[in-house]
Symmetry: C2
Subunit: 915 residues, 2 copies
């Protein structure tokens, strides 16, 4: 016969699978000899058996009877005894804490008879009746599924009738009347009276806990969090102790350190003469633990001892619930406590200092996301704000500035020293300069992976997108939200961490952690380097910065993955280098064709002879070379991967529909359309119904003679310039969108010729490897062949995700991603976290087969996933050499790469990807 019931004296904290989190910790505290009210736990196995059978297994009934008898014997009372009743609480407790499940029924064992016994032993008639009416309401709501508002209304009616506003002013007689009303509600709603038999109450409550495992909300939660459906929940049955038995009683919650700041000390709330639900309800103001120590020094002293004991035992911040019943302290629950990002770092570093944990363990106590949160500027929480609208939190941070509606104005005002926020319906590559100039970007359309969101995240710009309440009119340079009109120049503030948009100025607090990351520990502690306040840091902040330094330094020592940045400009590269980047993993050359240079692409596209085309290409060489020289200088001595042109050429031309409308209208008006006609013809010629799957990347390079050769020449000449100037450029050339080794062979043939020419002309030695993106499933599946012609691989996981799943980042997010997240097809967007079993399998295949064909092949990643913590663990696991991410994510990735290295047994299975 399986053992379905464990007394608290029988288990321990490592038995969460069987006893649930709460039960395991109650057993652990009991084992430590701490004052836990006696009780027992019904196992998750019993729950599973119940769910399969659809009925309570008979063995369980028997075992509960035995455990209850033992409990009654130990306490010396019987459950619901009319004279001297034992009362118990019944709580669910799964392995993982899970919203949507039944929480608690208190005071089980009270009935029309035992309520009098409780009056006797407590000497408090009001307390006993209040306990009984609480039981009926709680039991009615959670076990019998009665609308909670019915009980609340009855209470309100009574208070109105009595002319009072506060529950505590109800007398014992009032409560008797309320008990009758409550019982009537139960009879009306269920057709049966409130169960008077104590054991029936207990059995029904246990069954309700089991059933709550399968509520829709719980199922949905599990699906999203990838918690298996067949774990089941445990049930904890615990002797009631009462914090509401007078001034020498009370109840509280405490933490062994400050969960907000991480500061050492005792933190918590204490409510004298109260039960737990009163603390949650916030009816009265709570006291601090210091106040408690003054009121009840003995209990407080005992509590502090327990806290120290638990923290030393759990070796982490503990979150504790306790009750004092007539001067006696009881521990009701403990668990490792949640904390803020800053607290996580400080506590981890403190515990290392206290020699409670190792540096490796400290790394497991913090996450990249916590570090990221510490890096973003934030609005001063104390400031008054006028909320205007809410969009998607696309790229975190806080930005304030004058609203501008196009790139040109953004650049102009920024150059004049003004802070601006770029406001658009949606952005496109043309807006890039404006986005660079702006403090933040706000769009009314598009999802978290829209152009605005991706580019903003890439450059660390604050971004709120898809704020649909805002009606942007670029022509009139205004935006409307209802009656409110934002004109160009009006100051707005956007919070990329919450998605909020505010009207007017809001003070922003910059992050000292970023100062540290960019300028080092000493400069930051001295407050010399733009720390915001100019003076030294306050002690708490200094402690935080030191904690980050301790842990990040260890991560750097531990990690095996190198971390590069995606950067297209010298400024971005320099910043990335300050933030710890060990090279550039992706320099997108298409950004060098925007702005004024766009006209050269137009000339290239409209070229009607090889001469015109070659001249247009030739004109681009010095421009690209100049860009490269700056970039290579900023990254001197570190690798810089230059990706040849990737997007289709029509991306540099006007939108087809807009142009067609313009031409039609102009023609209708009898205006001259000669130039636009020619342009429209070119746009039509280049039009593709699916540009993502069209003439781009290596296909473009093979189709337009000289295009890639021009780019290779510019990069080679720039390298030669740097060498001549005494520099050490480490250039790598990367071919995008390769699907077949033949494509790479053909491009290599061209590139090798150009490199040899430039080396000869300039009299320098150019050692420039040529590699390929692996961003098509076909490339991954034939990586063994492609490796023949590639000096390195770099996974373009964005495109690989798009093609493996057959959906485009631009189109699908708004259309169905939200729904897919709702119904659990995705637990997270596969564009955010790598889909391990699908896309990840391609990464694994390509890595293994590429290296088999070419041992030691250098392999990296340069998609958005390079900056995603979970994905970084996956890339570590697969054995890549480096990941490349946006400059701002470099520290996060360094940390996660370190975490991955010390958690070698973390497998891809752990990834919360789609099934």
């Amino acid at each position: 016969m399986p053992k379905y019931v464990f007394e608290f004296t029988e288990g321990g904290k490592d038995e969460k699978d069987l006893l649930g989190g709460k039960g395991a910790n109650l057993a652990e505290m009991t084992r430590l000899g701490l004052p836990v009210p006696p009780g027992f736990t019904v196992t998750t196995e019993a729950c599973r058996r119940y769910l399969v059978d659809g009925a309570v297994p008979p063995e369980l009934r028997v075992q509960v009877t035995r455990a209850l008898r033992a409990l009654e014997d130990r306490i010396g009372r019987q459950l619901g005894d009319p004279e001297d009743p034992l009362l118990v609480s019944v709580r669910s407790g799964a392995k993982f804490s899970m919203p949507g499940m039944m929480e608690t029924v208190l005071n089980v064992g009270l009935n029309d008879a035992s309520v009098h016994g409780l009056t006797q032993i407590s000497g408090d008639a009001r307390f006993a009746r209040d306990s009984y009416r609480r039981l009926i309401a709680m039991f009615g709501r959670t076990v019998l599924d009665i609308e909670g508002a019915l009980f609340a209304d009855a209470m309100d009616d009574l208070k109105k009738d009595r002319g009072i506003t506060d529950d505590v002013d109800l007398t014992a007689d009032d409560l008797d009347e309320l008990i009758d009303s409550y019982k009537k509600i139960v009879q009306e709603q269920t057709g049966r009276p409130f169960p008077q038999h104590p054991r029936e109450q207990l059995d029904l409550a246990m069954k309700a806990v089991f059933d709550s495992w399968n509520t829709e909300r719980a199922r949905l939660y599990r699906r999203r969090e990838r918690i298996p459906n067949d774990l089941g929940t445990a049930v904890n049955v615990c002797t009631m102790v009462f914090g509401n038995l007078g001034g020498d009683s009370g109840t509280g919650v405490c933490f062994t350190r400050d969960p907000a700041s991480g500061k050492q000390g005792h933190y918590g709330d204490y409510l004298p003469n109260a039960q737990g639900e009163d603390v949650v309800a916030g009816i009265r103001n709570t006291l601090t633990l210091d106040d408690m120590a003054e009121r009840d020094p003995a209990s407080a002293r005992q509590l502090f001892g327990v806290m120290r004991r638990l923290e030393t035992h759990y070796r982490d911040l503990c979150d504790i619930e306790f009750t004092v019943e007539r001067g006696k302290l009881w521990m009701l629950q403990t668990r490792v406590g949640k904390r803020t990002a800053g607290a996580a770092f400080r506590i981890a570093a403190q515990l290392v200092d206290e020699q409670l944990i190792t540096l490796d363990e400290a790394l497991t106590r913090v996450t990249g996301e916590q570090l990221a949160r510490l890096m973003f500027p934030q609005f001063d929480p104390a400031a008054e704000k006028k909320l205007l609208a809410k969009g998607l939190a696309a790229s975190p941070g806080a930005a304030v500035g004058a609203a501008v509606f196009d790139s040109a104005v953004a650049v102009k005002r920024h150059a004049a020293g003004e802070s601006v926020v770029l406001v658009r319906r949606e952005t496109n590559p043309d807006d890039l300069e404006g986005m660079i100039a702006a403090n933040g970007v706000l769009t009314s359309r598009g999802g978290k992976t829209s152009h605005a969101a991706v580019v903003a995240r890439g450059m660390g710009r604050t971004c709120v997108c898809g704020a649909e309440a805002i009606d942007v009119d670029v022509r009139t340079r205004t935006a409307r939200v209802g009656d409110v009109v934002i004109n160009e120049g009006d100051v707005i503030a956007i919070d990329g961490t919450t998605g909020e948009v505010f009207l007017g100025d809001v003070p922003v607090v910059t992050s000292p952690v970023v100062d540290y990351l960019e300028h080092g520990l000493d400069a930051t502690l001295a407050g010399a380097d733009g720390g915001g306040n100019g003076a030294g840091l306050d002690e708490e902040t200094a402690d935080l910065v030191r904690a980050v330094d301790t842990i990040l330094t260890h991560a750097d020592a531990a990690r095996r993955l190198r971390v590069r940045a995606n950067a297209d400009t010298a400024d971005d590269a320099a910043r990335a280098r300050r933030l710890g980047a060990q090279g550039i993993g992706l320099c997108r050359t298409e950004h060098m064709f925007l702005g004024d240079r766009r006209v050269l692409i137009e000339r290239l596209v409209l070229a009607d002879s090889a001469e015109v085309r070659d001249a247009a290409l030739e004109a681009l060489v010095p421009l690209q070379r100049g860009d490269f020289v700056e970039l290579f200088e900023a990254m001197d001595g570190l690798p810089v991967t230059v990706r040849l042109l990737d997007p289709p050429l029509h991306e540099f031309l006007p939108d087809r529909t807009e142009l067609a409308v313009k031409v039609a209208v102009a023609r209708e008006r009898g205006e001259d359309t000669a130039h636009d006609d020619k342009l429209l013809a070119a746009v039509e010629r280049l039009h593709e119904s699916n540009p993502m799957l069209g003439l781009r990347g290596v296909r473009l390079g093979l189709t337009i003679p000289g295009l890639f050769a021009m780019q290779v020449r510019a990069a080679a000449e720039a390298a030669a310039d740097r060498i001549t100037a005494g520099g050490n450029p480490q250039v790598e050339i990367m071919v995008p969108l390769v699907g077949s080794v033949m494509e790479l062979h053909l491009i290599r043939d061209q590139a090798d010729t150009v490199l040899a020419e430039v080396a000869a002309q300039r009299g320098v030695r150019l050692d420039i490897p040529i590699g390929t993106m692996i961003e098509l499933p076909r490339a991954a599946l034939t990586a063994g062949r492609i490796a023949e012609a590639a000096d390195f691989f770099s996974f373009g996981t964005n495109d690989l995700t798009q093609t493996a799943w057959g959906f485009s980042r631009d189109d699908v997010e708004a259309a169905f991603f939200a729904h897919y997240l709702d119904v659990g097809v995705f637990t997270v967007s596969p564009f955010e976290t790598l889909d391990a079993i699908g896309v990840g399998r391609l990464v694994r295949i390509a890595t293994e087969e590429g290296r088999a064909a070419r041992p030691g092949l250098k392999i990296g990643v340069c998609g958005e996933h390079g900056g995603d913590p979970e994905s970084v663990h996956f890339f570590h696991d697969v054995g890549l050499d480096y990941v490349s991410c946006s400059p701002f994510r470099v520290p996060v990735t360094r940390l996660e790469a370190g975490r991955a290295a010390i958690a070698e047994d973390d497998t891809a299975e752990g990834l919360a990807g789609p099934r």
Copy 2:
């Protein structure tokens, strides 16, 4: 020391690797004791060694010397002896015949001295000089790389000077003068005199053969045909025999059966008093072998004996070159002969009848493409035609009819009994009814996988696409080619096998093979069933039809793959069934939403409430049900796979740019745009920059409540109708574009409910499996999981190719496919033949892992590749259960499936896919 030289007496026909095709067959004939002029073969191994070393290996020189001595001893003459010269021919001979390689140098051994010896022994001064001038020109062109026109010009100048037009009118003296001119050309072009030393001639000729292995044209050819670069070529050195030594000499080519019709007998051309190159040049009219038998009965009798001997030996049609030198027959070459499609079938069947080969072997002697060629109607070759333009041969056949420029007119004229050809710039789903009504489709834009091409091939309609010389103006209902204007109603003719477009009527010949395939052998032989001429078939045609029957019947018995058809209508299904389809593998339901029903989709899209949406869906049920009932009736007892809606909804709406222009122009004119504004808003809302990667397939089904349930209901009710009517519907429901098992689970939940409801309402048992397309790499890579929720898999290899390669069928073909084929990235479009190592690997993974998770899982293919012979072999090899192809391809696929089954050792390696 490797053996680099083999005398003809030493090898055999199975040594093609070492001796090349020509050398192996010369050795084989020698071994058979046939009269082959003595000679030797320099091996491919010697060539490879030469290519690696860049020089002739010394061992080769020695071995050639020895072989030459042996040859001289046997013949009793010495190479180039001034008195009595041995002359030899030098010919290349690789394992595979290969254009671009050096062919032949004749008469090696002639020089200024030995030309006189030849005069002596031949007694013909003119012959000797003609032989010498031929050597200089041939040697000059092929060995010394001199422009051939220079020799031709010198000949022309001389003839002009002599006032003659025919070479044979040149006298011996004239030829002496020509020899001087030729030698001067050699001196001028190479700076050296024409080599007089016979052995030098031989060595240079051999070296030239070796070098020709690596000409650009040969390399390109090998890249395309996937012939490895390191095979090398052999060189055959053969004693010259002369067919131009008078009336008792001659040269000819013959076949052991008629390569055009397959008829038994002796076929060939004989040219008395001529050398081989004269036959090729076509200077004089050739004689038949019967004529030859009259002129030279002894040689002819001997030749016929050799032919019989060779055919029996090779057990196949042989293609033979021979020469008669002064009454003595010499065999110069033989190989298995090329033949027409009809001949291939007839010869294979004849050889079975003659018990020379088995039925299995007969299957290897014919191909699906040959059967396909026999099925297409063709223009009467004898008819006069006026060529108008040339496009791509997109879907074979011959179509004649009145030119129409839109679908409505096509339908109207077709209904009135007129034959029409639909002429469009390009087609879209709106043109479907017009394409059905038309005999053929002609477009001025788009490649071989454009919409027009794919749909036309699918329905077996003749199609020429991308005929760019034709300027189609739909508004004026005209098309122009230069000055020629085609008005609506003008008769045009298009040849889908050649891509030619003709003006005016051209008589069409229908295929008796199709009659046989649709109506069976007896009906066709009787000529009763629309055989075209109404009377019985002529004996040749009857023989062909019987041959096809013999071989196809055997293929059906041998094959393991079942063959289904892709069909959306009852008519197509019925035809497919007649052609041997064993079910419908793909019924696309989107075609049921076109035409008048389009308005319902518009209503669905514009719906602003759930009620309107549901009503629009409800209205579609009876329409779809009606379509299904007809289809299930046509396929009674056979499986019909119904695919739920796949394309994005905006495909059913007007084009965005056209609509935007229409609205802008109307607004400019002050016209009312209310309805179009609303429509445009919907179009904009649904607009996707990459619809192929957008909201389609299962995503649509999960996003639009009730859409898939409506389709499932229509299919289930149709099945119930058929059951009630005593039929046996075998319906399968297929979910498109699944990427995750969760999607399939969610759709199954809906579908199972609907199926249960319909079964209950109608009181029938519905056994309808629910399966999924595997058309995304992610689906293939997670097939083991998807199999949990799928009753069957069907590979959508079109989409799988698109996503694995990241290019869209619609866009890329025109843009870069032609270039990729030119430079050898593709040997064939991966949309035509499955890319085995990329896309095919996904097919293999999904099949293995799907079956591992669900043993016995039924798996098929329903992409275009299902009708492609090479791909069918691959699918057989992977172990699929069935392939589904367009109805017209069913017989082809039956044949290829049979061929695949008897060639089990055919591996995927053999696929001519991209690298």
